[in-house]
């Protein structure tokens, strides 16, 4: 973990990650690629996912002895933000989630292939919408598997008397249904059946892996809203109406200021949660509260910013051909993944300690 890195080393690692992200999927540049992949199975480019694996990103969080980069959440959040800004449709965060589960179950072989980009294994853990619980009900349909059409196999947690087991079910022959998503990808519903037992896995390991995926999703949303805002500011500066740039109208300026504050709050909240997770010494409750706060903020802010981005673009914002619409669609897909804002507010209320409060009040 990043505890091994000092601040300067971490900052350098983050800078390098952002640079390589820009090489593979630049913030501003590849919306043509995104459009070309939309609604065409599997909804992403396997070659790009393989290139991401080559960069070491699927193994980013894994320790070096497992073939990983040994980096932490601060690094992952930077990477996720860049890929969010670039609207990269490749399922990197789901692949990393699988990596964490495989590592926890000690399943070295599939892990090696996943990390190397040779096989896309996707976790089929979810049995209800907007949840962070993986009950592992035998036979229950597994829902909302992102970009499921591109998987070579699925990881299915199954509850047995003695605890959770992790099963590997090949995609070939699986009862899998795909549904198109707003951003051009595909959610899969899997009816789990057969496959091979990989090993048992602890509840805490599953919870931690989902915690990491949640925060990485918040960071992805940060990239989405940030880049949508950049495009919107460009539009406000250049689009003329009533004889002047619309960005000179005070009501729109004030709205832009409010959006900027929401983006800044999201960024600060995500960075603080990442630092907390990387610290390792904090309690599980504190980590859960921080992650929930970051995800709730990012989900609400991303929908607000992308919605307002459409509004500020006026008529053109409501066309499918305007790139700004791609950001709204991505935000719609990610906002409730790994828990809606409402779920995370409830979790925060249950977990957070009143650290700012109380001591000074009579």
């Amino acid at each position: 973990m990043s505890a091994a890195l000092d601040n300067a080393e971490l900052a350098e690692a983050v800078r390098m990650l952002r640079d390589s992200a820009a090489g593979l999927a630049s913030r501003g540049g590849d919306r043509r690629r995104v459009r070309a992949l939309r609604f065409q199975p599997p909804g992403f480019d396997p070659a790009v996912l393989a290139a991401m694996a080559e960069q070491g990103w699927i193994g980013l969080l894994l320790p070096e002895q497992k073939g990983g980069a040994g980096l932490g959440m601060t690094a992952l959040c930077a990477l996720a933000e860049e890929l969010g800004a670039a609207l990269a449709p490749e399922p990197l965060v789901p692949a990393m989630l699988s990596g964490s589960l495989l590592a926890a179950a000690g399943a070295d072989m599939p892990l090696e292939r996943l990390v190397a980009g040779e096989a896309l294994v996707l976790a089929a853990w979810q049995e209800a919408p907007s949840t962070l619980e993986a009950p592992g009900t035998p036979g229950a349909p597994r829902l909302f598997i992102p970009q499921a059409g591109g998987a070579s196999a699925f990881l299915v947690p199954v509850r047995q008397a003695q605890g959770l087991e992790l099963w590997l079910q090949p995609a070939e022959g699986a009862a899998l249904q795909l549904e198109k998503t707003q951003d051009g990808g595909f959610f899969g519903t899997l009816r789990p059946e057969g496959g091979a037992l990989l090993g048992s896995i602890g509840e805490d390991a599953v919870a931690d892996a989902l915690e990491q995926a949640t925060l990485a999703t918040a960071a992805t949303l940060l990239g989405v809203m940030d880049q949508a805002f950049v495009l919107t500011l460009d539009y406000l500066r250049t689009r003329q109406q009533f004889g002047r740039p619309i960005g000179s109208f005070q009501a729109l300026q004030h709205r832009a200021a409010d959006l900027q504050i929401q983006i800044a709050l999201s960024r600060a909240s995500i960075a603080a949660a990442a630092a907390l997770l990387d610290d390792g010494s904090t309690s599980r409750a504190a980590r859960r509260a921080a992650v929930s706060r970051a995800k709730a903020r990012a989900s609400d802010a991303a929908l607000l910013v992308t919605r307002q981005a459409i509004q500020l673009h006026g008529g053109i914002g409501y066309t499918d051909e305007a790139d700004i619409s791609l950001y709204l669609r991505r935000a719609m897909v990610l906002a409730n993944q790994f828990g809606s804002a409402a779920l995370h507010r409830r979790r925060f209320a249950a977990e957070a300690h009143d650290d700012m409060l109380g001591e000074d009040a009579a």
Binding site: Q182, L252, I310, E321, V333, S340
Partner: protein, 385 residues
């Protein structure tokens, strides 16, 4: 034909309700998008058979000659039943304008063909450079004369033209004089879309529907007799045309229907009884009921035979934002379904993403919320420039 105006409001409402329940094609109720002409044709035929194509036109022009109160009832019943709007710019916009400003020749030439469904009209006002700022439009009509007579040559582009692909005629605001104030020098021109030089390109919108179009004019020849009213007076004519239909942009029906779908979704997601949800749902219900009361005060103005003032902007603003807030709550409670392209399990009433997207343009089109707030501030509250 019975004089519908002679019926009591209750009797008329019952009459309309009987008609739509008996005759309106059930598969067309509450369509998620504007219908194309061919899709709505069966309903048009029913209207035509009954002589109900143009409720607001005077009877001498083939309309029903309904007063404002009856027209409101008619539209309320249509909304209640989920009757689709047909491509109706000829009936709603052009007809009244020709009846008020057109020559007898223009009336005789165009009105019967609208009633017969032979001419389908679309409206060419907005331009790429002039969205909310309509007065700055640049599509240009230059007068000329050739062996076939006086005419205009039109060059330029219109955008957000609703269902232009279905239309064979377009009525346009075009610039005929570049001097003076921006609002002046604009004329009202009727253009046959089959003329050489007219090109239509559909625009796919966020709902992935092709309801809007761009229309391009490249040296299009338009006969002089297709000018309505005086040259350079088109802007004031178009504004005078803003009739009581503006009230329907503020109708509570759209939000009421969305709220019913929100409830359905909340039940499906198992959150309907959760206190968080109940609190927000109750606020939305109260907003809707208050909106309905406000709407009725404007309807009362019309029933009294008075005309609407600029304060009707309030209705449109509040309805649009209420509709949006309802669909935003849908998105929040829908879990991952918020990201689906198609309705949940194929049920059109369970499509939070679609309804959320459907609500987006309500604050943009028909006078954006920013423009409406400016109207309220300046023309109603008397705030300075």
């Amino acid at each position: 034909m019975t004089d519908l105006n002679a019926l009591s409001d209750e009797a008329f409402r019952a009459e309309v309700r009987r008609f739509v329940e008996a005759e309106y094609p059930p598969e067309l109720r509450h369509p998620p998008h504007r219908l194309h002409w061919e899709q709505g044709r069966p309903w048009f035929d029913k209207l035509q058979a009954r002589g109900w194509v143009a409720p607001g036109w005077p009877r001498e022009h083939g309309g029903l000659g309904l007063d404002a109160g009856k027209q409101i009832i008619l539209i309320e019943e249509y909304e209640r039943h989920g009757v689709a709007r047909l491509p109706d710019h000829g009936v709603i916009m052009l007809g009244p304008l020709l009846i008020r400003f057109g020559t007898q020749e223009q009336q005789e030439r165009f009105l019967p063909r609208i009633l017969a469904g032979e001419d389908i009209w679309c409206q060419g006002y907005s331009e790429p450079g002039a969205g909310s700022d309509l007065a700055s439009l640049r599509t240009e009509a230059v007068p000329g004369t050739d062996q076939e007579g006086d005419h205009y040559v039109v060059n330029g582009q219109k955008i957000w033209t609703t269902l232009a692909t279905d239309a064979n005629w377009i009525f346009c605001l075009v610039r005929t004089d570049k001097g003076g104030k921006k609002q002046e020098g604009i004329s009202f021109l009727l253009i046959d879309m089959r003329s050489p030089g007219v090109t239509v390109r559909p625009i796919i919108n966020l709902a992935r529907h092709d309801e809007f179009c761009e229309v391009f004019f490249d040296n299009v020849r338009v006969p002089r007799e297709n000018l309505v009213g005086e040259p350079n007076k088109g802007w004031s004519m178009a504004k005078a045309l803003l009739g009581f239909e503006r009230i329907f942009l503020g109708s509570p029906r759209q939000s009421g229907y969305a709220l019913a779908r929100l409830k359905l979704l909340a039940e499906r997601m198992g959150v309907f009884d959760e206190p968080d949800f109940q609190d927000r749902y109750t606020r939305l219900r109260m907003d809707l009921d208050d909106h309905k009361d406000l709407y009725e005060t404007f309807v009362a103005v019309l029933r009294r035979g008075d005309t609407l003032g600029p304060d009707v902007s309030m209705l449109k603003l509040h309805q649009a934002e209420l509709f949006q807030r309802i669909t935003e709550l849908m998105l929040e409670i829908a879990g991952e379904n918020a990201g689906l392209l198609e309705p949940m399990g194929g049920n059109r009433d369970l499509h939070p993403a679609g309804q959320f997207i459907e609500a987006r343009p309500t604050t943009i089109y028909g006078g954006s919320s920013e423009v409406q707030r400016g109207i309220l501030a300046k023309n109603v509250l008397g705030l300075p420039g």
